[in-house]
């Protein structure tokens, strides 16, 4: 029986993901699903067999409309998340994503050792378990934010030619930077694949952490809570970089 090493910890409920962060997350999910689906259609539309006159159909038009609408939502949502990185709680803070301390890199190594190389803990060595993002996830999200940026630049760069509004016109310099619309839309298309790959790994890892840590990782993006062992607080301070303390 397992009882010989069974130890039942008391769990403390921690409010990790604030409501704006959760809203950002799910709005982002929705926008990305719409953008990827419509993006695939725009890149290679289905062979429609229609008896309608072209004047009475607007299939491609509607798909593009959805793509552009979702793009605006994605863009402003992204801007909001950057803002929240300065005003949100410590788990949403920008320091979670950009390494500013030695401890950040130490934790990255610790995550790699534990979760990727599957090394066993040496006696007395603590696990990397963090409360919010672990350091490796944080750094990954930083690169994902850069990917968001590339996608916004190339996307609105392509869109600038179709709009007179000043906002897309801010991106009118991008095509010249990439060497023309043709190359830019290829970059836009390749970058989309990185979103898909990220999603696969991200969803898997959420299940993984829930499974091996038992802290309610999956549901945390619903209610905002994670359940952290009481002794975690007793032994040492959380390993999450705390921007509010020097």
């Amino acid at each position: 029986m397992a009882t010989k090493y069974l130890h039942i910890p008391r769990l403390r409920r921690i409010y990790v993901w604030e409501l704006p962060v959760r809203l950002y997350h799910w709005l982002n999910v929705l926008a990305i699903i719409v953008l990827v689906a419509t993006g695939f259609y725009i890149a290679n539309p289905l062979a429609l067999m229609s008896q309608k006159e072209a004047a009475n159909a607007f299939t491609m038009g509607w798909v593009r409309f959805l793509h552009f609408t979702a793009a605006y939502i994605f863009f402003f949502n992204f801007l909001f998340r950057i803002y929240w990185g300065f005003v949100g709680n410590k788990y949403a803070n920008w320091k979670q994503f950009i390494p500013t301390s030695k401890r950040f890199f130490k934790e990255i190594w610790s995550v790699i050792r534990m979760d990727i190389l599957f090394q066993k803990n040496r006696p007395g060595q603590r696990e990397h378990l963090s409360i919010g993002h672990n350091a490796l996830a944080g750094l990954t999200y930083f690169f994902v934010f850069l990917l968001f940026l590339v996608q916004c630049l190339t996307g609105f760069g392509l869109y600038a030619a179709m709009s007179d509004w000043w906002l897309p016109q801010l991106f009118a310099w991008v095509p010249a930077f990439f060497g023309g619309d043709i190359v830019m839309r290829q970059v836009h298309h390749w970058a989309m694949w990185l979103f898909i790959l990220f999603t696969v790994i991200h969803v898997y890892l959420v299940f993984y952490h829930d499974y091996v840590e038992g802290r309610g990782e999956i549901s945390s993006m619903g209610g905002g809570w994670k359940f952290i062992e009481e002794e975690f607080f007793e032994k040492e301070k959380p390993h999450t970089p705390n921007p509010h303390k020097p």
Partner: protein
């Protein structure tokens, strides 16, 4: 342009009348040019006045690595005055293809123009300049084209890069570019270059650029990569008469299908119209007769940078250069997705093996808790 020159030289208007055109023909020409340049009707007067008062601006037209399709396009622009006056007059000074002189006389004419009109002449360059092997791949009169270019550009009032060769290198600069064919704006520092790309550019656009310079005495407003905004600010897609089929989602699947007969959109057979900035859909070629899409052929994006290296011409799919000719983004994406899925599955298995104890503990802990619940 100046009084001394105008005494010696007849004005454009006088030249036109001498060629046998009526005042009416001249006015039609001026109106047409103003319209092509995208000017309002009040500007017609300005065009007329400029052509009436200015004596001809000397033009030197150099040919380097090119096929002369730009010249061909120019002499086929829709109004005969373009060919008769603009080209005839301007090219007399020096144009390898069209000048009457040859050999020593031609070189003398060039030298004469360079000295006499220093700082006043327009330099038109057709073709790219090879810089590999000290430029031996294109030599004229014993000089490399790079030497010739620097010589003639020095005293030019404006430089016009005719066509894709001069603007972006075109086919001879496609990978691996054995002669290091270089567009001229990369070789001329400190001189503004008007790029008029296209393979060839539209005759009316070429005429429009020159008439703009004659009328206003300065180069037209350029876009971010140096093309005149009047002709290159809209995508071919935006003025395409097949655009309604695009919006409706009706596409040609193959060149011989029913949809092709119906004239559906050529997007799926590789049309680059949505990413190409040019005036083809509005001006068309050969006196406004047609343009590629009207003839059932997708736009190949010839007025865009490096258009020969921008992926395949008959597919939307983006080519991954250097990753095999048949590979495109979606194929690599699917491979990457498969690898990721396999890695995730492998990780899940490894987790269950190596973290067995931990997972088992959590499970046991949960079961223990469950026991305390009174049902």
């Amino acid at each position: 342009m100046n009084s001394e020159a105008s005494k010696k030289q007849p004005t454009y208007y006088e030249e036109i009348r001498l060629k046998g055109y009526s005042r009416r023909d001249f006015m039609k020409f001026a109106s047409m040019m103003a319209a092509f340049m995208g000017l309002e009707s009040s500007a017609i007067g300005q065009v007329v006045k400029a052509l009436e008062t200015n004596s001809r601006v000397p033009v030197i037209w150099m040919h380097f690595q090119e096929c002369t399709c730009c010249s061909e396009s120019f002499i086929r622009s829709s109004h005969p005055i373009v060919a008769d006056i603009l080209l005839d007059m301007i090219s007399l000074d020096y144009s390898e293809t069209l000048m009457a002189a040859s050999g020593v006389q031609a070189e003398a004419a060039l030298k004469n123009t360079l000295e006499k009109y220093k700082g006043k002449y327009i330099l038109c360059v057709e073709g790219s300049v090879p810089v590999a092997a000290d430029g031996v791949y294109c030599m004229i009169g014993g000089k490399t084209s790079l030497q010739v270019l620097h010589e003639v550009a020095e005293g030019a009032a404006a430089v016009i890069a005719w066509g894709s060769c001069a603007s972006n290198g075109c086919v001879q600069s496609a990978k691996p570019n054995p002669t290091s064919a270089t567009p001229i704006h990369k070789l001329l520092k400190g001189i503004p270059v008007i790029k008029v790309p296209g393979c060839p550019p539209i005759g009316e656009v070429m005429a429009g650029v020159i008439v703009h310079y004659l009328t206003f005495g300065k180069i037209p407003e350029l876009d971010r990569i140096g093309r005149p905004k009047a002709f290159y600010s809209k995508r071919v897609h935006d003025s395409c008469y097949r655009r309604p089929f695009y919006d409706a989602g009706l596409f040609v699947e193959t060149f011989d299908d029913e949809n092709a007969k119906k004239g559906y959109c050529l997007y799926k057979v590789g049309c680059k119209g949505p990413s190409t900035y040019n005036a083809c859909g509005v001006m068309r070629w050969n006196e406004g007769t047609s343009f590629p899409i009207q003839s059932g052929h997708p736009c190949i994006g010839c007025s865009e940078e490096n258009f020969w290296d921008n992926g395949r011409m008959y597919e939307r799919a983006s080519a991954f250069s250097g990753f095999g000719i048949e590979a495109d983004a979606d194929k690599w994406g699917k491979v990457a997705l498969g690898v990721t899925a396999a890695a995730v599955a492998g990780h899940a298995i490894a987790t269950n093996i190596t973290k067995y104890k931990k997972i088992h503990e959590l499970e046991a802990e949960g079961k223990e808790g469950e026991k305390d619940v009174i049902s």
